[in-house]
Symmetry: C5
C-alpha cells in the first residue's frame, strides 16, 4: 500500500485537507494517507520531511494559506524554497497548494477557491504517483488549479 502524505496548517482559514482527502478518495484506491498538521506554512517543509522519513510517504501534498500582509508573501517564499529543498533532498515530489487570502474578495469566495484548488492539486498528486503518463498527455496545455485553464497558445500540430 503506497502512502501519500498530507501536511496542513492551523493558520489557514479553510480546511483544505478535508477537500484534498475527498478528492484523493474519489481519484482511486491503492494508497493510504498519513497526515501532519502544523501551525503555519513555514512549518510545512519539515512536516513533509517527517512524512517522508518517518511516516513512509512517497509523495506529499503541502496545503497552506498565506495572509494578506506583505510579510506573508515573504513567509510563502521561504516556505516554497523549503518545500523545494525537501523534495529534492528526498527525491520525492511535494505538490505545493497555497491559496493567498488576497486572491479572494470575501470569505465565501476564499472557501470555494481553497477547496477547489486543494481538490485539483490532490488530483495532480494522485496522477504523479499512479498515472504519470496522464500528465505528459497534457503537457503545454495551460492547465490551472482553482481557476479555469487558460489553454495552449496555439492548437497542437
Amino acid at each position: 500500500m503506497r502512502r501519500i502524505g498530507v501536511a496542513d496548517t492551523t493558520f489557514a482559514r479553510v480546511d483544505m485537507a478535508d477537500a484534498a482527502l475527498r478528492a484523493l478518495s474519489a481519484s482511486g484506491t491503492g494508497f493510504k494517507v498519513v497526515r501532519r498538521t502544523v501551525p503555519g506554512i513555514k512549518d510545512l517543509p519539515v512536516a513533509c520531511r517527517q512524512l517522508f522519513a518517518t511516516d513512509g510517504a512517497e509523495l506529499c501534498l503541502a496545503l497552506g494559506m498565506p495572509g494578506r500582509a506583505d510579510y506573508d508573501r515573504t513567509c510563502a517564499h521561504e516556505a516554497s524554497l523549503g518545500l523545494i529543498f525537501t523534495s529534492v533532498l528526498e527525491a520525492k515530489p511535494i505538490v505545493e497548494c497555497f491559496v493567498f487570502e488576497s486572491e479572494a474578495s470575501d470569505d465565501r469566495a476564499l472557501d470555494a477557491l481553497a477547496r477547489r484548488r486543494a481538490e485539483e492539486h490532490a488530483r495532480n498528486a494522485f496522477a504523479l504517483l499512479f498515472r504519470p503518463q496522464e500528465l505528459s498527455r497534457h503537457a503545454g496545455e495551460g492547465l490551472r488549479q482553482g481557476f479555469p485553464d487558460v489553454g495552449a497558445a496555439r492548437p497542437r500540430h
Copy 2:
C-alpha cells in the same frame, strides 16, 4: 525524558525565553529544556542545529526580535531560511517565534506582544511533540499567535 531546545538572543528587547519556559511548564511534563542564547537572529539556525545534534533536543523553539530597519527584515528572512533548512536537515521541527519591533506601538505593547506570542508558540511546540492530533483538530481554523485568532472563512461542514 524528551528534550525541547530553546534558542534565544541578547539582541531581543524582551526575555521571550522566560515567557516560553513558563508556558511550557504549564503545558505538561515529560520533558527537559536545553537552552542556547546567541547574539542575534542570524545565529539561531546553528544554535538549533547544536541543540539537536549536541544537546539531544527533539524540537526547538527559536525566539527572536528583528529591529525596525529595512535591513532587519533582510536579516529575519535569512534567519528564517536558515531555520527551515536546519529543521529539514535534522527532520525535527523548529517553531520560529519572531516579533518585529515595528509590530508594536510602544515598549509596553512590545513586551506584552512578545510574551504572549512566545507563550502561544511554546504551547504549539508542546502540542507538536506530545499531542500532534490536537493540531489536526484545529486545521484550517485561522489560528494566530500574539494576536486574536481570525477564525475559519466559513463554518465547518
Copy 3:
C-alpha cells in the same frame, strides 16, 4: 546509451518538450530520452532529481513557462534556485529553458518564441553532453536563445 532527461509542465501554454525532442533528434544520436511531466515550474527540480537518480539521466532539460503575474516571477526564482541546487547536488547539468508569457505580445509569438528557445536550449544540452569543446569555441560570443545573438563586444584578438 546515454540518457537525457526532459522535464516539462502542464502549466505551460506551449508543448516545449515537443520542440526540444525534435531538436535533440536532429542534433545526433547515441542517446535515449527519459521524460517526466509535472504540474508547474516549482515541481521541475524534484522531477530532474528523479530523472537523474531513478531514470539514469546524465543531463536534464527543464522546460517551463512562468505566467504574467508578479507572483509568477517569484515562482520562477524559486524554481531556478531549486534547479541549480539539484544540478550541484547531482554534479550533472540541468539546462533551464524558461519562457515568460510576458516576453511575447500575443499567443502566436509566444508559441514561436517558446519553440525556438526550446530548440536552441536542446542543442546546447546536446553540445554539453557530446561536444563540450564546441561551447568553448564560442565562449564570450554573446550567444542568445530564442532571440538573435548579440555578438562579442569587440572582434576577437
Copy 4:
C-alpha cells in the same frame, strides 16, 4: 588548545581582523587563532568552511564591509545566507560581523565603527565558546554591536 577562525577581506576599508584579534586576546586565553583572508564577502563562507574543516576551528568570526551600492546589499545577502548555511552544515557557530560603508558618514567614523563592532563581535565569539551562560544572562536585553545598547523594553520581572 581550542581554535577560533578569523575570516576577513581585502575589499574592506578597515583592518577589522586587527581590532578583533586584540579584543580576543584581551578576553582571555586558552585558544589559538587561525586566519584566512579572501578578496570579498562572498568568499567568506568557503573560507569559514575551510577554517572548520581544514584548520580545526570550533567557531569562526566572519568580518566584512559591503560597499555603498545597491548591488553590495545583494552581495551581503548572498554572503549571509552562505555563512548561515556553512554554520548549520558544520554545526559550529559563525559570528558574522558586517559593517556597511553607508552606516558611517565619513572615513574616520567608518574606521571607528568597524573597529568597535569587530571588537564587540569578537567578545561575543569568545563568550559563545568559553562562557555561553554569560549570553543567557543577557537574553532579551537589547544588546547591540558598534552602537549603544537599546536595552530591554521593560525592566525584568
Copy 5:
C-alpha cells in the same frame, strides 16, 4: 601539479577566460588549467562542481556577464547563491568574476572592463592557492577588481 578550474559562458560578450588564462600564466607556474564552457551564468555552479569533482580542480574561477535587464540581475543572484553553495559543499574556493553589461557605457569600455576584472580576479585566484599570506597582508585595504582600489579608510596604525 595543482589544477585550477575555469568556467565561462557563451552568453558573455567578452572572452573573459582568454584574459584570465593570460593573467594566470603570468602569475607563476605549478598549475594546470581545466576548463568548462556553459551557456549562461546559471550553469556556472554545476560546471564548477564538475571541475572539482570530475576534473580535480582545487579552486575555480567562474566568469560571467549578466545582461542589462532586470531579469539578468535575478539570474546573477541565483548564480551567485549557487556558486557559494557549491564552494561550501566542496570546501574549495570559487572566485566569482561577474561583469554586468550595465557597468560599461559602450562595447569598447565593456571589453576593457571585463578583461581587466578577469585578470585581477585570476591573480586573486592564484594568490588564494599559492600565496594566501599575501592576501592577509592586504586585509582591509579597500582593494577593487576592474576599477581603481579605494584604499583604507584611515592609514594603518
